[in-house]
């Protein structure tokens, strides 16, 4: 490492004045800090990030009562127990249903609304944008009571539909703002060109805009999925039957049990984490570009 640094540092004194035309790319530009300034803090932060993950993995894999710091001998008894005895299998299915349905509904509804906001001027646009913004400040938790009443009226208590609807509604405002920003970044002239070529609005949108929106849609959709997968209070409030519950509620019940079964809790946690980690790993790339393209700025 020191050798590497030495070879890197060596040319520096030789180099002529900064304006020298022979060095248009400077060795140490602003975004190239000395190595240790990157790796040291990053390493420390990585330890903080990873220890909790390791801890939960450790508890889920080592036998009950063990105090070893490595999960060896490895056992899957906790997973079996949680999946069957604690009905995490059922919770898992329910959570997948809620997540996928929320994803689809949010993306579709937000796509339509976002297109209107990005491409049209209409009378109530400003008022609508303001409503979107204000709804960001309406906490779902505080609306539990009236929402409960509404779903009771609609006979939707104890049905996953209530949770899907509630999650969708609370995902909508931000999703719509994001999608409309993404659409604004697609040049309008592209669409107009397609109309000239004889496409109608719908076709033009489908073949010109939609492909360019893919990163944005992936970001928004995965947001919706991850949020509804993780969110807890709606399911806790609107679903009473155990066979209708979702994973976060299952986890909570593991935590609040009188004698907390740590192995079961850890295994349940891993089961809860797997789908979001997979989603996250896939969308990582799009997420950052998606964000910088559709920057959350209004």
């Amino acid at each position: 490492m020191s050798v590497k640094e030495a070879t890197k540092a060596a040319p520096a004194p030789v180099r002529a004045t900064p304006e020298s035309p022979r060095h248009p790319k400077r060795k140490r530009a602003w975004d190239e800090a000395p190595r240790w300034q990157v790796y040291l803090p990053l390493g420390i932060y990585l330890v903080f990030t990873l220890i909790p993950f390791y801890w939960i993995l450790l508890f889920s894999l080592r036998p009950a009562g063990s105090t070893s710091l490595v999960p060896w001998p490895m056992t899957f008894e906790h997973f079996e127990k949680v999946w069957t005895d604690r009905s995490f299998g059922t919770y898992f299915t329910n959570s997948v249903l809620v997540g996928v349905a929320t994803l689809l509904m949010t993306t579709l509804v937000a796509l339509a609304g976002g297109y209107a906001l990005a491409r049209f001027d209409f009378k109530i646009k400003r008022a609508f944008m303001l409503a979107l913004l204000c709804s960001q400040f309406v906490p779902g938790a505080l609306l539990l009571v009236p929402l409960f009443e509404i779903f009771a009226e609609l006979q939707m208590i104890n049905s996953l539909g209530s949770v899907i609807l509630a999650e969708t509604v609370f995902q909508l405002p931000l999703s719509m703002i994001l999608i409309s920003n993404f659409i604004k970044n697609v040049p309008y002239s592209l669409e107009e060109a397609a109309w000239v070529d004889g496409c109608n609005r719908m076709t033009a949108f489908r073949i010109v805009v939609l492909p360019l929106l893919r990163p944005g849609l992936i970001a928004v959709g995965s947001f919706a999925f991850v949020h509804s997968w993780n969110h807890f209070l709606f399911a806790l409030m609107f679903l009473n039957n155990q066979d209708k519950q979702t994973i976060p509620v299952g986890l909570n019940s593991l935590m609040s049990a009188d004698s907390v079964d740590l192995g079961a809790l850890a295994a349940g946690g891993i089961i809860a984490a797997v789908p979001v980690v997979i989603v996250f790993a896939f969308i990582q790339k799009w997420l950052i570009t998606g964000f910088s393209a559709g920057a959350v700025k209004g």
């Binding site: 602003w30 990585l46 609304g113 505080l142 986890l251 946690g269 990582q284 950052i288 920057a295 209004g298």
Partner: protein, 311 residues
């Protein structure tokens, strides 16, 4: 006369293409689903919260239900010490959490914005807690803080702290313990938003600054920070509202305890409605929370000039 003019002139220019392709009703049709959903499941509930706040409303004690006037509010402000405690704790929680998250998030974003070997993997790893939320975060930290088998036990082996302590059940340690747990997944959120914005800073600016001999610290203050201003304001305020509203973590991590030490106002509301079924009183508390949030959103509107110049 009009006809003569029309004949005399060449035929009227065709209406602009854009206009003809834009049926007047289309935008309304497009926003209709979203608008209806939001009216039904956000606007209407908000209004009914105001209505319930003036009622005695408890499904388990129907004989006492009915119009209550401002009794709920009077009770909250004059006879309910828990309410004031939750207000103070909410403020403390939001300020500490958001302040630290901003600080660490900014630092983290600056670090992973550098080019270095293993950057992709590094980013994925340090951002990963962002995907993990609420209940799972508490599950993880409940394991870490466990008095028998948690990290405290191993720290005690190293001579730090003592055996059998649980940081979550001691009033003196529960606050920092909860803060650290929430930081774990809050910092990546900030870092992602700030990193996204960092990538749009023009490299030319830095090169020009470097030619002029500006130090890196100066470059940070005069180029990076001004550029990030909007993103920072936005994410800070969104996060502040979110930290205030979110009950998932504290509900499951501490349940508001020990001794109400970690009860935020929304958590108190959730407890009042979900556990105690005192819907009327919970609605009154909700109204108070709304007023606080409304104030925040005003500040936010001011600072971000949202929707001011849409194209």
């Amino acid at each position: 006369m009009a006809q003569a003019a029309a004949v005399a002139k060449p035929p009227a220019p065709p209406r602009r293409r854009r206009a003809s392709a834009t049926p007047r009703r289309l935008p309304y049709l497009l926003i209709a689903p979203a608008a209806l959903l939001m009216l039904g499941f956000i606007a209407y509930p908000v209004i009914s919260v105001f209505y319930y706040s003036l009622q005695n409303y408890n499904p388990t004690k129907p004989w006492r239900n009915g119009y209550a006037g401002f009794d709920n509010f009077v009770h909250a402000f004059t006879k309910d010490p828990i309410f004031w405690d939750t207000l103070v704790f909410s403020a403390k929680w939001v300020v500490v959490e958001v302040g630290l998250q901003l600080l660490f998030g900014l630092a983290l974003a600056l670090i992973v914005n550098q080019t270095f070997v293993g950057r992709g993997l590094g980013r994925a790893l340090v951002f990963s807690p962002w995907a993990v939320s609420g209940v799972l975060t508490s599950a993880i930290w409940v394991l870490l803080y466990n008095s028998q088998t948690g990290i405290t036990r191993y720290l005690a082996d190293l001579g730090i702290g003592s055996y059998g302590t649980s940081w979550l059940s001691d009033t003196s340690t529960v606050f920092p313990a909860a803060v650290v747990a929430d930081l774990w997944r809050g910092v990546p959120f900030f870092a992602i938003l700030i990193l996204a914005d960092l990538q749009s800073v023009s490299k030319d600016l830095y090169e020009a600054a470097e030619v002029d001999g500006a130090s890196r610290i100066k470059q940070f203050w005069h180029i990076t920070l001004p550029h990030l201003k909007d993103a920072i304001i936005l994410s800070t305020l969104l996060r502040a509202v979110w930290e205030f509203n979110n009950v998932d973590l504290l509900y499951t991590l501490t349940g508001g305890g020990p001794a109400g030490e970690t009860t935020t106002l929304p958590l108190y509301i959730a407890n009042t409605s979900v556990d105690a079924h005192n819907f009327g009183y919970a609605s009154a508390l909700t109204t108070v929370a709304f007023v606080i949030l409304l104030f925040c959103s005003m500040v936010y509107l001011r600072l971000s000039k949202f929707g001011g110049d849409n194209k």
